[in-house]
């Protein structure tokens, strides 16, 4: 038989259904955000691990000018090396009829028998090239999709200065090119960068590499010292023009992926945890007050002889039921959103399989946390009431120390209407309660800001990176260093408003035992198309000698202005030189080493040459410009800022913003839940008093003013407090994670503050309407019959 107390649980839930719903909503929002975010992050990490394992992603990589294949056997003999996969990998250029933009690419040789041992391909479409048809190639799936390449399509490739026709027979994913980027471009550009895999005979003969290789992928034996192996490889390859061996940490795709995952971790673990924590705190406040409001009932149950344990169990059931309803809704919502968001990741993260992962522990943990948080609050309140003698508990809670606020009496004389004095005394007379409910409302604001912040941060990143730092409209890379006359050649093109040359070389910085692979960029003094800036966005001039480091690199290498760092050029003669760190720049996108171009030329022991050009182009004549550039044989590739920008907002933007939108939405739900509950409970506790005011003749409006003015007072404090807390938490989150490719700034636009405040005020306004309805419906007669 169902016990009467259990019937009471059901009736209480029904009679408080709106309140129960708003609490459940709070739980649901916390659980949903948590489940969604953690699942998504786990899905990404899981997909990466699977891809790396299934396709045998190499541990070490090295490039060189040309080494005979016998050197591969020598590499195998190095202690600590596992598999060695020699290959030919070279930059190429693609010609397409439908675009004037130069498309750059990389061609990689495939062993005669198909799959390589390492960095295997996951075929998405088509088939493997036939060894008897050297013109058949596999291309990376991202490019195939971006350019709508069909199987069987011809592809014109410029190899080693010679145009050669290939035919696409397959598209594939590779763990080496989850993000396909070429150096000096921090973002993947799938439309203008292609990876081709062709039979080794075809590639080797095009580059005169028969019986030789210029690139090698290796695995490392378990327990071997990476540093030792890298040194041995470098030593062995040095006579063959080795450009320095490196591990996954310096592999461009993996580095970008790691940074991306670090950002995702911030968005997916840290922020939702804070979000969930706040939701749990609010749950605590709301449930605590709900139980407090049942003080009389608890006392009556005690008076009737119910043991504290029985009463506690009763509330445990009530609160757990609410938490379960909320968790269930949260789990469903969370899983649903997770599937949607993971879908949006697929366009960005190129994994063979990327599915939302719902690990049982996660679902159980989220539910348990909600139940525990809710019950902790309930237990505290039940205990506080249960320890009182029933007779005392049956009376309303001791009024606060009102005498303290007797000054309101003199001040209030005829000046302030008494309903406001009632509100003021209630607010000030119960400081702890007022504080909690104010903090509760305040904490709703960061939850909304968490979502809005990402929009601001991305806008800011775009603004700073693409209109203040990188000021060129397009960038060209040359096949080999060109003399500075190239600048005049480019400036002479109709439609080119400005052109500046840069020297970009791959380097390895070494400070003590720490190393960092990146590109050194040589800029001319007074460069206008790339302006390094400091934190306050003020331009920093490039030092005439020595180097300027981005703050991320300086941090990683523990370098400060004035320190000496060894710079090792990873091409040509592999010059190593000690230079002095002269300045630190604050890069948001990418991490760079910047030098004066002449200084870099001196380090390289070369004349005044450059290999990259930044252009400012008249938009009206851009087609003309590109058609002229297309016919320049020395141009290897290009990137166009406008395309970058759309890429940025389509991929990173789109991906982050979906999560942000969901976060902001749930933040809003929580805000409404908290404000509504505050008002609802205030009303519940005061129904008797308010009805009394109505009876003596105060209008509904005057009576509403009592509760509304209390809520307004709390809002006035809560909103600025919430904005401050939000700002602080966002700074904390942003500083907790500064990756190498990205520096998501703690920038909050004033409009976001306004939106968050307006939303909370709107939630409050909705609550005011609800209060007014309740006051209108107060049963004046019933009030006369009971003491409380």
């Amino acid at each position: 038989m169902v016990s009467v107390l259990d019937i009471k649980v059901l009736r209480d839930i029904w009679s408080m259904r709106l309140q129960v719903l708003s609490i459940a909503m709070l739980v649901a929002a916390g659980v949903a955000v948590f489940v969604m975010s953690v699942s998504n992050y786990r899905a990404l990490v899981g997909a990466m691990e699977n891809h790396y394992r299934n396709e045998r992603f190499a541990d070490l990589f090295a490039g060189m000018t040309r080494a005979p294949l016998v050197i591969a056997d020598r590499l195998r003999e190095i202690d600590g090396i596992g598999i060695v996969e020699p290959r030919v990998a070279k930059p190429v250029r693609i010609i397409r009829e439908d675009t004037n933009l130069p498309i750059s690419g990389r061609i990689i040789s495939l062993p005669a028998d198909g799959q390589p041992l390492l960095n295997r391909l996951h075929l998405v479409q088509g088939r493997w090239p036939d060894p008897f048809h050297p013109e058949e190639v596999i291309i990376n799936a991202a490019y195939a999709e971006a350019r709508a390449v069909r199987m069987g399509d011809p592809i014109e490739v410029v190899l080693n200065g010679r145009l050669q026709d290939f035919r696409v027979v397959g598209s594939a994913l590779s763990p080496e090119f989850v993000f396909a980027t070429r150096s000096a471009v921090p973002l993947p550009d799938d439309r203008n960068f292609v990876v081709l895999w062709a039979g080794e005979d075809a590639v080797a003969s095009a580059f005169d590499m028969k019986g030789a290789f210029n690139d090698v992928a290796m695995t490392i034996a378990p327990g071997a010292s990476v540093q030792h192996v890298l040194e041995e490889v470098d030593r062995l390859l040095a006579p063959y023009g080795g450009t320095g061996a490196y591990d996954r940490g310096d592999q461009p795709s993996h580095r970008f992926l790691e940074d991306e995952l670090a950002e995702q971790e911030t968005l997916s673990i840290f922020m939702p945890s804070v979000f969930f924590g706040i939701a749990a705190f609010l749950l605590n406040v709301v449930i605590g007050r709900m139980v407090e409001a049942q003080r009389g009932q608890i006392a009556s149950l005690k008076a009737l002889g119910f043991a504290n344990g029985t009463i506690a169990l009763h509330y445990f059931k009530l609160v757990t039921a609410i938490a379960l309803v909320g968790s269930a809704a949260g789990l469903v919502l969370g899983c649903w959103f997770a599937v949607g968001v993971v879908g949006s990741y697929r366009a960005f993260f190129r994994f063979p399989s990327l599915e939302a992962r719902f690990e049982p522990w996660l679902l159980v943990a989220a539910t348990l946390v909600s139940i525990v948080a809710a019950n902790l609050a309930a237990a505290t309140s039940v205990y506080r009431i249960a320890v009182l003698p029933p007779a005392e508990a049956m009376r309303p809670a001791t009024p606060p120390a009102l005498q303290t606020f007797a000054w309101l009496q003199t001040m209030g004389n005829r000046v302030i209407p008494l309903q406001y004095i009632i509100a003021a005394r209630t607010t000030l007379g119960r400081p702890i309660r007022t504080l909690f409910s104010t903090i509760g409302i305040a904490l709703a604001i960061p939850l909304i800001l968490f979502g809005l912040y990402w929009f601001d941060a991305i806008d800011y990143m775009i603004d700073v990176s693409f209109s203040r730092v990188e000021r060129g409209d397009a960038f060209l890379t040359f096949t080999e260093p060109v003399s500075t006359d190239a600048r005049y050649e480019l400036m002479a093109l109709p439609g080119v408003l400005n052109a500046e040359l840069q020297r970009v070389v791959p380097v390895r910085l070494r400070a003590g035992y720490r190393t960092y692979r990146t590109s050194a960029i040589g800029l001319d003094p007074g460069s206008e198309l790339k302006i390094p800036r400091d934190k306050a966005l003020q331009p920093i001039s490039v030092p005439a000698d020595g180097i300027m480091l981005s703050r991320q690199i300086a941090g990683q290498l523990d370098l400060h202005v004035g320190d000496r760092v060894s710079i090792e050029v990873l091409e040509g003669t592999r010059v190593v030189k000690d230079v002095i760190v002269r300045r630190i720049s604050d890069d948001i996108l990418g991490s760079s080493v910047t030098m004066d171009r002449s200084a870099l030329n001196r380090v390289m022991k070369e004349g005044p040459v450059a290999n990259v050009a930044a252009l400012r182009i008249d938009p009206a004549q851009s087609e003309l410009v590109w058609s002229r550039i297309k016919s320049m044989p020395r141009i290897e590739g290009s990137s166009v800022k406008a395309l970058w920008l759309s890429l940025f907002s389509d991929t990173i933007g789109g991906m982050v913003l979906i999560g942000a939108l969901i976060l902001a939405g749930f933040g809003m739900l929580i805000a409404i839940g908290v404000v509504y509950n505050s008002a609802r409970i205030a009303l519940q506790e005061r129904a008797w008093e308010l009805a009394g005011l109505r009876i003596v003749g105060l209008t509904r409006h005057e009576v509403s003013a009592v509760v509304v003015s209390e809520l307004v007072a709390e809002l006035v404090v809560a909103i600025p407090l919430g904005l401050l807390i939000g700002r602080y938490l966002i700074e904390l989150i942003a500083s907790a994670r500064a990756s190498q490719s990205f520096q998501i700034p703690a920038v909050i636009d004033p409009s976001s503050y306004v939106i968050a405040s307006v939303l909370v005020i709107a939630a409050a306004f909705a609550s005011f309407i609800m209060i007014r309805r309740r006051i209108d419906a107060l049963d004046l007669v019933a009030v006369l019959k009971t003491r409380d």
Binding site: L418, L698, L784
Partner: protein, 249 residues
Amino acid sequence: MQAYEREAESSANVPPAPVFVARGLTKVYGSGDSQVTALKNVDLDIRQGEFIVLLGPSGSGKSTLLNILGGLDAPTSGSAKWRDHQLTGAGDDELTTYRREHVGFVFQFYNLIPSLSVEENVRLVAQIASDPMDPRQALELVGLSHRARHFPSQLSGGEQQRVAVARAIVKRPDILLCDEPTGALDVDTGRMVLAAIAKVNAQLGTTTIVITHNSAIAGMADRVLRLSGGRIVKEEPNPNRIAADDVQW
């Protein structure tokens, strides 16, 4: 004291025209099987300045009748009128105005606002009345001037009830409605509260209706109405009113 004695002379004898006129008042709560008829076809006339005591067991309809006369409840059928105010069929705003301008209430459980001091509780009503007396005068009338700055929680039950009386009369109400004003009090405190009510009735000429279980209080009334089963079963004029101090129970 002159201000609130202006109508005193009219309370000495029964004035000619009734101020309250109720005809066929019926109040039914609930519906179907759970239907309860609280008032059945009650007719009633009350004259200006009368001191009426409503007597009867629980459930006899006393409170329902009082609530309808006070504008807190509406009858299911029948009509009730106070002077030119039609109480039946009036909207909430009209009833609020009626209570605000004309009615003072005293309840069994005082219903004071805990966060307002004694003086403020009284002033709360003075603030919304059109021609109130000084709140301190109202407190003086119930003998509580010295407690003006205390809060309700610092007063005894009897004192709280007297504050409720002061709060009810500060607006110089035309009608004072008291529902079991001594129900929660001991004899001595109860007498003090009754004395305050009688004083207001006598000095301000306020039409006063008191509900009680306690037939001893009936001795203070001009007229006693006995209710049972939702009807007025007996009406007893009382030519020899006694003072509150002489009430025994």
